[in-house]
Assembly symmetry: C2
Homo-oligomer: 109 residues x 2
DNA sequence: AGATTGGTTAAGCATATACTTAAGTATTGC
DNA sequence: GCAATACTTAAGTATATGCTTAACCAATCT
């Protein structure tokens, strides 16, 4: 099992590549096979599969092979993990700015 | 000027490192100098500065030097950029699941 | 059965990342 | 002025990342 920080490492690392984000975008429109994912991408199939593995070990994507075709889907829980980390920091920062505003207002009294 | 995709590359890449996330967390509690940022971190000062540079070129952090001390603050706009990308994908995926649910419900008629 | 499709494995390579130590440069305090 | 503080610069290194090509395997189609 991975701890929270290691998971975030993997998710943000996975999202840091434009090819992988294109793959994620494609998958938000529904499941796809490996070759469907590869079709718009300008690189070899093994390269696509390597990106797919990064997405899979990050937890962002789940895959299952039926016959000879591997079907890929998004796992939105992992996407939320990253979203939550960011929104919490932003909230903290904004609360701080509010407190700062209050302090300045008090000083005007 | 950077395009949207390149910005996202840099932001997610910046957030993919636990040391840098700790630095961001520290900065959400208010501005800090380089040595204050370095203090809880178990690495050399140049290493911290290198991380700081990654955060700065990603746009997540802004710094300004006054006298001999460099003060660092968060730029929440960049944090929102990443948050927005994720939430949009998640929304898209959830809408898709809803439509799928509707379709299945119709089939029951 | 033989060819095609869809994906996998392995090996190699160029560049990027995450550090390190050593030495240097401006402020600032005494 | 001299020392301490707060970085800064440079150079080196080990590991990771993002590809490539070549060869392989296992379902499916004809």
């Amino acid at each position: 099992m991975l701890n929270q920080s290691e998971s975030l490492d993997l998710v943000f690392q996975a999202l840091a590549d434009p090819t992988r984000r294109v793959m994620v975008e494609r998958l938000t429109r529904g499941p796809a096979s490996v070759s469907e994912l590869a079709q718009p991408l300008d690189m070899s199939l093994p390269a696509v599969v390597q990106h797919l593995q990064v997405l899979e070990t990050s937890g962002l994507v789940r895959t299952a092979k039926v016959g000879r075709v591997r079907t890929c889907t998004i796992d939105p829980k992992t996407l939320s993990l990253a979203e939550k980390w960011i929104s919490e920091r932003r909230a903290l920062w904004e609360r701080r700015l509010d407190r700062l505003g209050d302090l300045l207002a008090e000083e005007d009294d």
